[in-house]
């Protein structure tokens, strides 16, 4: 009898996620994407071990940009503050929302003498198709595709399934990391928080 109850319990626990409706994902709802945003469902909030910390020199990188050519972190050394916005993958709900928001606040980045670099582990052609849906972006979008996720890995934000975390790094003109937000992958970081951190750089 005991065994039957135990088996029932085990079955119930394992089937519950199948019966329970997945948490509805309310991001990426813009009609701009039509039905093309892939619903990832709810994911483990973070799935990597950060390798850098605030106060440290940011690891350098040179990555291909969707608009052509290559962009290095070094290009901005001594010139501009840099915000790195890693998003997990093209065509997924929260990511499809995040950059279009940044796209209308260029003035806020300018006011704090900052450039934004958007990075994912997707290939350039995929990033091209995806970012085309967002309208014209004012900031470079970089591909950390090959060697796969090398930059994400050096920052310690490459998840075990090969996509990156949803993470923001604020790097000052001297190349020092001033703010890190490895965000819950299922949520969009608040714009207000990022702008507040930019304000602190003055």
């Amino acid at each position: 009898m005991k065994r039957i109850f135990r088996s029932l319990f085990v079955i119930a626990v394992f089937t519950a996620p199948l019966i329970l409706p997945p948490a509805p994902n309310a991001y990426g709802l813009s009609d701009a994407y039509k039905g093309n945003v892939y619903d990832t469902g709810r994911l483990k909030p973070t799935d990597s071990a950060l390798k850098v910390k605030v106060g440290q020199k940011a690891p350098g990188f040179t990555l291909p940009a969707v608009s052509g050519g290559k962009v290095s972190l070094q290009d901005y050394h001594g010139k501009k503050n840099v915000v790195l916005s890693f998003v997990p993958a093209a065509w997924t709900p929260v990511c499809s929302d995040q950059w279009p928001g940044y796209n209308i606040v260029k003035d806020l980045f300018d006011a704090h003498d900052a450039i934004l670099l958007g990075i994912t582990v997707d290939s350039v052609p995929t990033l091209f198709s995806w970012t085309n849906q967002m309208g014209k972006l004012w900031f470079p979008v970089l591909s950390d595709f090959w060697p796969h996720g090398k930059t994400a890995s050096e920052y310690g934000i490459l998840r075990t399934d090969g996509v990156s975390e949803r993470a923001l790094f604020l790097i000052d003109r001297q190349g020092v990391i001033r703010y890190i937000d490895v965000h819950d992958i299922n949520e969009r970081p608040s714009l207000e928080m990022l702008i507040r951190e930019l304000e602190k750089l003055k």
Binding site: P24, L29, S30, D97, G101, G135, L191
Partner: protein, 193 residues
């Protein structure tokens, strides 16, 4: 042990069944009513007097059918949605057309609800596109869920009757084809003229 297993089993099953009603409803249907929700009192005095919710009776949260108008057009948008960004100038132009027409001014009012947007983010959108009508945040997607989680931009037309009752007469996803055509459609469907 047996009891513990039995109760756990019941708890899991209970959780499965209670989660079901959380599934999204459909967006408001034409001929139906708006779900029951309130918006916070507008901070801006221009917005307050525009909506007619500035009286002593309405100093707190208000419900859309309390807006002083015959017709309210509700735009469900997000600061993060590229189509909403592209549509913003058209919605502004719709507002001007209404305000500049003595037959429509005061009768048709506009308001926007920014789904998943904080107060700050709604403010960024308002400033970026110089939106002349009131915008409200729905940071926790609560209203969005009540409205059946429509994609954006989504427009709802609401007719407010003299007795205070209301009806949805327009409920549709997507940018409007032309400002003039959309306005004429709103006038016709609402029975305003």
């Amino acid at each position: 042990m047996k009891k513990f297993v039995l109760y756990s089993l019941l708890a899991v099953l209970f959780a499965c069944f209670t989660a079901a009603p959380l599934l999204a409803a459909a967006p408001p249907a034409v001929g139906g009513q708006l779900p029951d929700f309130s918006l916070p009192a507008p901070k801006d005095s221009t917005d307050k007097s525009y909506l007619g919710v500035s009286g002593r009776l309405f100093s707190g949260p208000f419900k859309i059918p309390q807006v002083k108008a015959n017709v309210v057009i509700i735009e469900i948008f997000s600061m993060y949605c590229p189509y909403c960004q592209a549509e913003a100038p058209n919605v502004n132009s719709l507002f001007s057309k209404i305000e500049n027409d003595p037959a429509l001014k005061g009768k048709i009012k506009l308001l926007g609800i920014g789904i998943g947007n904080s107060d700050y983010e709604v403010g960024v959108f308002k400033k970026k596109y110089s939106v002349p009508f009131p915008l409200f945040p729905d940071g926790d997607f609560k209203i969005h869920k009540l409205l059946g989680e429509p994609r954006t931009p989504y427009f709802i037309g609401l007719r407010i009757n003299p007795d205070g009752s209301h009806q949805v007469f327009y409920s549709k996803l997507g940018a409007f084809e032309g400002v003039e055509a959309f306005l004429n459609q709103i006038i016709r469907l609402s029975g305003l003229k």
